[in-house]
Symmetry: C2
Subunit: 345 residues, 2 copies
């Protein structure tokens, strides 16, 4: 059968076409709370019990659970003809909401925002622009109106950004010695996770997150910490003022927007920046010849369906920064998901 | 990073979460005609040339081509800074429309019908019913109104069914010796591919495809063969008459519908069937304990989002057939995608 032949051919390149369906099964189970329920339950549960607790159909949840068993995300034992399902270590660790290693927010963001957008990939390639309008009925130029389309969505996205920088933030703030920058502003710093990493590493610096009023309010309500080491300031760094500082952070900002808009922003930052100050950019970098890394190429395709921007190789950032008046551009590939670029005024 | 850890854990079970994105990239390229263009082109093409020929954005097609290069579906060589893309053997064989082994119809059906439905898997599990209404605005009980929602969609689906039985049909018609059945009717026989396999194997039998008028007309227009060995008859075997015959084929019909509807249909077939005649069912069979095969479990979840039915183990078919009055139920697992069940009147 041709599908099988093709699958075999593809698997040599590490590809498995039908796995999209397994992703959906895991995502849906996450969204329905299957893994949380199985973790909390003291004993294995039948499909009927799971359906009752989660308010789903019995038939639907049974088919879903059976697929999860097949891919070894859920365990099963059959007692007198009835299947009893229980969670696995991998589900408890990565899929249950309460686990410190939970990917729950990421999965929900994928299933409710990214996947629906990728369903319109053909149109994105045809038109060369994001699919927020077709997917969510939102203006394509306001890319954050899709991501922040409800308080719940905003919170999910912020949770995701938060966990990204809780994990990868340390590599970004230690990519260069930032000791001499005493006032730091993280532009679009979201929940403040990267700013906190910086404040922890450089305790003598004052670190401020500048973000949209709604984001700052949500950050303070949901992500504030006792004796927080950072400050928040409400503002719009594209439309409004940029306060003076020694160092500006732009973490995953540039890749969202068109070149002209980024250049205008960097020039504005250059004007506001104290002499001897600088800008620190955190992005996933393409290779200079654009032939990889594969994941960054895929991110760039994702930027097409979701934003006005794209991923770039280091030379593009050097060009932009130099054009905006910065000098001494240094690039540090961290070997993790995000790389760092530092430039001085 | 947690995603990577989770990915590593999952890959031990053969799962690769991010591959859904690679599927979309391949599907979209198929839909845009990338593989056909690269196959027809006598020389490697730049992204600008591909964009011009296909009427897409240059930026979008370049990002898509780069992802296809990364997953080794497209080749690239860079000449004086410009990337020139060419097709690979695997793309020419399986993804170009003109190849006899083309998966084009299957891929388009996946990307335009199956994937959009699976995007609503959570609701399907919650409600225990198909998502035709939410996905296509079509009544959930008329499952073929989604599949046949336009002439183009009907043709694609029929092309898909056709290639399924061109490939797997021989295994179904040779699972049992059907020599003694002189008049055969394939109920819902679509393009006639399975009926042709049967007529080829049993040249002394008369084989008729009975399907909805629109399906029969499309079959005759697009799938008819010179000196065709089979006949077509327009009809609705649920609502209308079932003509007398020695053998009735139900290939991938039962799994679309609810038990009551299937039982009523089988009783109606039993009444019409000549004494000594029978019914041949072709379906993908679950194991008796429902713990696999994985692909059939996934088909069953697909039946949830798309139809009123599900996949079953052999015992269910035996039960249905016996209840409808048939006897001597025999099950043959072919070892291919679809299995065969024969029962006699």
């Amino acid at each position: 059968m041709r599908c099988v032949e093709f699958a075999v051919e593809l698997s040599r390149t590490g590809l498995h076409l039908r796995q999209a369906f397994f992703c959906w099964a895991i995502f849906s189970a996450c969204e329905l709370g299957v893994f949380d329920l199985l973790l909390q339950s003291q004993k294995p549960m039948s499909a009927v019990e799971v359906a009752q607790k989660l308010g789903t159909s019995e038939d639907g949840i049974e088919r879903l659970l059976d697929v999860l068993v097949a891919i070894e995300i859920v365990d099963v034992e059959v007692v007198q003809g009835t299947a009893f399902y229980s969670s696995t270590d991998v589900a408890n660790l990565y899929l249950a909401k309460t686990s410190p290693k939970s990917l729950h927010d990421l999965i929900i963001y994928n299933s409710q925002t990214i996947y629906p957008l990728w369903n319109n990939l053909v149109d994105a390639v045809r038109e060369g622009k994001n699919q927020n309008e077709k997917t969510f009925g939102l203006p394509s130029e306001e890319i954050f109106s899709a991501i922040y389309r409800s308080e719940e969505e905003m919170l999910k996205f912020m949770g995701l950004m938060n966990s990204t920088w809780v994990i990868d933030g340390h590599d970004i703030v230690t990519a260069f010695d930032l000791t001499n920058f005493k006032t730091v502003i993280d532009l679009g710093g979201c929940s403040g996770a990267l700013a906190r990493e910086l404040a922890k590493e450089y305790p003598s610096s004052t670190v401020t997150v500048l973000d949209l009023p709604a984001v700052v309010q949500t950050a303070q309500q949901h992500f504030a910490q006792q004796d927080d080491t950072i400050c928040f300031q409400e503002g719009d760094f594209f439309e409004g003022e940029i306060p003076p500082a020694d160092l500006y952070i732009l973490a995953r900002i540039i890749h969202d927007w068109k070149e002209e808009k980024n250049l205008k922003l960097l020039k504005k930052i250059h004007t506001a920046c104290h002499p001897g100050g600088g800008v620190l950019i955190a992005e996933a970098l393409l290779f200079e010849n654009s032939r990889g890394p594969t994941m960054v190429q895929m991110f760039s395709l994702n930027m097409l369906v979701q934003t006005e921007g794209k991923e770039h190789p280091p030379s593009h950032y050097t060009h932009l920064l130099t054009e905006a008046g910065f000098r001494d551009v240094q690039v540090c590939r961290t070997g993790k998901s995000y790389d760092a670029i530092l430039a001085l005024k």
